[in-house]
């Protein structure tokens, strides 16, 4: 992860502050920084979203393409994650560093979405054993300002919410060979069921307490953190420990509880923004990168 270097007294100041529930920017341990979310920012995609969590800037594009179902799951479609930590985000990502981080993040997302119900994969099936929709979720890290996983998961959920998959019909002719017809109408499409799509909450252990939405400086003071993925109903779908340090079991349970609470709040806030954007429709001008 892109790390900032801090002096010992600076770290001490941060750690003591966390103990007192007053972080450097005035937040409490369970407060998030202000986030900006916008969908449909990239043409050429089935769905896209951009999320800015103060400094962290993420762009996600979802492309629905036709593919063949996996052998072990013949009546389901699937998701493919690809994370690009370009050197844009911070020069420390040059070369191998960025690739490794990208692979790590993609792997975490596979785990998060591997849960049975996260996405209704059966709805992505067109023709069992023959055709299905593959959703390629491409994540582009524009700027890294701390708390990557949470920001990326918000962008992924927003992009999936924005994804429109064209309706298809399977036509069978006399010889038994199948043909797939795509609807011409761009508005004739299906949307994904977002009910159980999880969001990631990263809890970083600092001193004896833990914080959510750590800044780069706070990440430098944290030796271990816990990634939890939470659905909108507050159910945990996966847990992953990150970092070199170790966590004692009791603090893990505390962190899980905080994760559930904060996760639910995240879902509510995100849904509110997405609904607002949708209701404004074309009357709202896209801001994108120009605003």
């Amino acid at each position: 992860m892109a790390a900032v270097v801090l002096s010992e007294p600076e770290k001490l100041y941060i750690v003591h502050g966390v103990q007192e529930d007053l972080r450097v920017d005035g937040r409490g341990c369970e407060d998030y920084r202000c986030a900006e979310v916008e969908t449909d920012v990239v043409s050429n995609t089935s769905g896209s979203a951009r999320v800015k969590l103060e400094n962290t800037d993420i762009l996600v594009g979802v492309k629905a393409e036709m593919g063949t179902p996996k052998i072990e799951k013949p009546d389901e479609g699937y998701l493919e994650f690809c994370v690009d930590c370009s050197a844009n985000a911070t020069p420390e990502f040059e070369g191998r560093g960025g690739e490794e981080l990208g692979a790590e993040i993609a792997s975490a997302f596979y785990t998060v979405f591997s849960s049975e119900n996260s996405i209704d994969l059966k709805s992505l099936c067109i023709n069992p054993r023959e055709h299905c929709w593959v959703l390629y979720v491409d994540v582009l890290l524009l700027v890294c300002g701390g708390n990557l996983y949470d920001a990326i998961s918000i962008a992924v959920k927003a992009a999936l919410f924005n994804t429109r998959i064209p309706k298809v019909r399977v036509l069978e002719d006399e010889e038994g060979s199948k043909e797939i017809e795509l609807s011409d109408d761009p508005y004739d499409c299906i949307r994904l069921n977002m009910e159980n799509v999880p969001l990631i909450v990263t809890l970083s252990k600092i001193g004896y307490r833990h914080v959510v939405d750590a800044t780069l400086e706070e990440e430098a003071c944290s030796l271990a953190s816990l990634l939890v993925s939470v659905t909108s109903k507050g159910a945990l779908t996966s847990i992953k420990k990150m970092g070199r340090g170790s966590l004692d079991p009791e603090s893990i349970f505390e962190m899980m509880e905080t994760g559930k609470k904060v996760g639910k709040a995240l879902h509510v806030a995100l849904q509110k923004v997405l609904d607002e954007e949708e209701s404004l429709g074309t009357s709202r001008q896209k801001v994108g990168f120009l605003g």
């Binding site: 393409e65 844009n88 043909e179 011409d184």
Partner: protein, 248 residues
């Protein structure tokens, strides 16, 4: 997969030019796509720029000049080392581009970018330092222009603002600044990077599809595109300068 995508993109026209000389998107052969840009959108980088030309969107960032990181052998005693990287997002084209590991510095696009910028950046002013340029987007030429703007935004001295444009040959006519559909139909043609004040070229790259006798009009078309781009860019740049300098 016979018959798949039968009705995909059902708007194919017979040709790329209508009878009265209009292109698919309504432009004349020598017109460039509309330009929108913004500088300094990533405050953490030393310089940054964003350009939108038609559907093409490019982001460029610059870090430097700064102390060389890594082996000392990388630094040059008499000038700054310019390191360029060009990456294409997987969703940047009409078909999803399978991400390749090798879009780093050694790639063709990055080398083109490096060549275009080296002609313009006054690197002799910063010995022993390095300047990192990262361009991210769907199009080489726009990426080069965005990179030049990002270098400008970083306050790094430039001989000139490099403007890059391309042209392709379609049905006997040279088309300036081909869009995605046009490029898909006839392939990339000629790419130029121009230093507008002097009229000198920093980059000339030709793909195979232009017969020699057609070279001149295609070059003219590309150069026209660069000059037109420079005019549009210049307007935007000065407006942005006035706004920012009014602030301080």
């Amino acid at each position: 997969k016979r018959g798949l995508y039968r009705k995909r993109r059902g708007l194919y026209r017979e040709g790329l030019l209508s009878d009265d000389g209009f292109r698919l998107d309504g432009r004349r052969p020598r017109e460039i796509r509309s330009l929108r840009m913004r500088l300094g959108l990533f405050p953490r980088a030393d310089g940054s720029a964003y350009i939108e030309q038609g559907n093409t969107k490019v982001v460029a960032l610059v870090y430097g000049p700064r102390e060389v990181r890594g082996p000392r052998s990388r630094s040059a005693p008499d000038q700054a080392v310019l390191r360029c990287r060009f990456s294409l997002a997987p969703f940047s084209g009409p078909e999803r581009r399978r991400p390749r590991g090798g879009e780093g510095r050694g790639s063709d696009l990055a080398l083109r970018l490096q060549q275009s910028l080296e002609a313009a950046v006054l690197t002799h002013l910063y010995p022993r330092s390095q300047i990192d340029v990262y361009s991210d987007g769907s199009h080489c030429c726009t990426g080069t222009t965005a990179a030049a703007l990002a270098v400008l935004d970083a306050g790094i001295p430039l001989r000139d603002v490099v403007c890059a444009g391309s042209a392709a040959l379609a049905e006997g006519t040279a088309l300036t600044d081909p869009n995605g559909a046009e490029e898909a139909a006839v392939g990339p043609g000629l790419a130029l990077a121009l230093l507008p004040a002097s009229g000198l070229l920093a980059l000339v790259q030709l793909s195979a599809r232009v017969p020699c006798e057609r070279l001149e009009p295609v070059m003219e078309a590309a150069a026209d595109g660069c000059r037109e781009l420079h005019r549009a860019l210049d307007r935007e740049l000065r407006r942005s300068l006035r706004e920012r300098h009014g602030e301080v």
